[in-house]
């Protein structure tokens, strides 16, 4: 009994290490930094409470993304989705990036951040969002182009 519980915890820990980064960044990109963190914590708590069910899923990350979406919808959209990060913590970030991010659609932000910022594959993002790879690619490219236009960064793709 005890060893089963420990095994479950190990499996869950492994699962979180693998899934949490994609989930955290995706929900933060979709709903803003603060609500994204709350939604991620809620989604992973839900995963642990329903661990036996989650283990049998084909696409647990995608399912938890939708759980996180449901949790995020319980919150009011804050006035500032993406707060300014102090320059000493992120010296290479443009001071206008947070404003430019807020101007993208939700899927454009998620796709652009995960694919161009964090180098996830289109397949991984498509599984997470539950949309086709073609749609992911379109969202990512449009999002990136908008960001570059907003920040007036030379397009060298």
């Amino acid at each position: 009994m005890r060893s089963t519980s420990i095994n479950h915890e190990r499996e869950f820990t492994r699962f979180v290490k693998e899934t949490e980064p994609r989930l955290s960044y995706a929900l933060a990109a979709a709903y803003g930094i603060e609500i994204g963190a709350e939604a991620t914590a809620d989604a992973l708590a839900w995963a642990w409470e329903h661990w036996s069910k989650v283990q049998e899923m084909n696409n647990p990350a995608g399912y938890l993304y939708r759980v996180g979406q449901s949790k995020a919808r319980r919150h009011f959209r804050p006035a500032v989705l993406f707060p300014v990060v102090p320059s000493f913590e992120a010296p290479m970030v443009s001071p206008d990036l947070h404003t430019a991010l807020a101007g993208l659609s939700k899927n454009q932000r998620v796709a652009a951040v995960l694919i161009h910022g964090l180098e996830y594959t289109e397949r991984e993002v498509a599984d997470l969002l539950g949309i086709s790879r073609w749609s992911v690619r379109t969202h990512a490219e449009r999002g990136l182009t908008k960001l570059k236009n907003e920040l007036e960064v030379a397009i060298d793709v």
Partner: protein, 294 residues
């Protein structure tokens, strides 16, 4: 400035709060270790229920009170049928109060359930929050966290309550209970004209076959009254004058009350008339007339 991809990575690495498996497991253990009393017992649902009940009665009761005061009948005296008429109005008000209490109970139950659910969620989230590192205050601007579902529910209930109160006021203002329907008004006009013209034949046209007229201890049928009216000598100078507006309630039969001043060669007498008006094949007719004089 560096490439946009680099900026995105650096921004999200710096800003996003990460959640570890340990956070989740410790939070879950803390929630499980709370006693049932700690998890569930709180005065908050009771306060929410009481507040919901009181607020509902205040809004709806206020609306009803305003309506009653605004449309209070001008005449409030008499006995017999008039007492019945006023009694029906009181019964209608009692029905409203029961309705409001029922609505209040529903609101109270919903409020208690919402508060209990919110309390449970709050305890759960607190357990989780203690395990997640709080970001430096300089990193994230504070954004107040709210439960959108709860607020939407409360706003919806408030809108429903205000709409119900507005409807009650509008309904009473648009169609006051004391306003005489046009057909009833015309029938009473004709009935009084019969008396003023001493027209026994016309009297039969505005009354039912089982019509009764009661004045003090005397009750007469239609034929008797028709004969009495026809036999009145114009020299008696008998005239019926209405004082003020009629008060009408009911939806067929109608119960009508009004004040009268009777003139004749011997002087003036004021009194209250109460009528029962019924629908017949030939239209509305007076079925009963009770007169209570000074």
């Amino acid at each position: 400035m560096s490439e946009i991809e680099t900026q995105l990575r650096e921004y999200f690495d710096a800003a996003v709060e990460r959640v570890t498996a340990e956070d989740v497991l410790v939070g879950h253990q803390m929630l499980e270790s709370m006693t049932p009393q700690e998890q569930h017992w709180t005065w908050r649902p009771a306060w929410a229920a009481a507040a919901g009940f009181v607020a509902t009665l205040a809004v709806l009761g206020g609306s009803l009170g305003i309506g009653i005061v605004a449309h209070r009948p001008a005449t409030d005296t008499g006995t017999g049928r008039i007492t019945e008429v006023l009694g029906e109005a009181n019964e209608a008000a009692s029905g409203w109060w029961l309705f409001m209490v029922a609505i209040g109970v529903v609101v109270a139950v919903v409020g208690a359930l919402i508060a209990r659910n919110q309390q449970h969620n709050s305890q759960r989230e607190n357990a989780m929050a203690t395990t997640i590192k709080t970001p430096p205050s300089t990193r994230l601007e504070a954004a107040e966290r709210n439960n959108r579902g709860l607020v939407m529910t409360v706003v919806g209930l408030a809108i429903a309550l205000v709409a119900l109160g507005a409807w009650a006021l509008f309904d009473q203002a648009a169609e006051p209970e004391t306003a005489a329907p046009q057909a009833v008004q015309e029938l009473i006009d004709d009935y009084e004209a019969v008396w003023n013209n001493y027209d026994g034949d016309a009297f039969s046209a505005v009354t039912t076959e089982d019509y009764t007229h009661t004045n003090g201890d005397f009750t007469s049928d239609r034929d008797t009254m028709a004969s009495t009216i026809a036999s009145m000598a114009p020299s008696s100078n008998f005239q019926v004058e209405r004082i003020g507006d009629l008060v009408v309630t009911g939806e067929g039969p109608y119960y009508v009350a009004g004040a009268n001043r009777l003139h004749d060669s011997q002087g003036i007498e004021d009194g209250i008339s109460a009528f029962v008006i019924v629908e017949t094949d030939d239209g509305l007719k007076v079925a009963e007339h009770l007169f209570v004089g000074q």
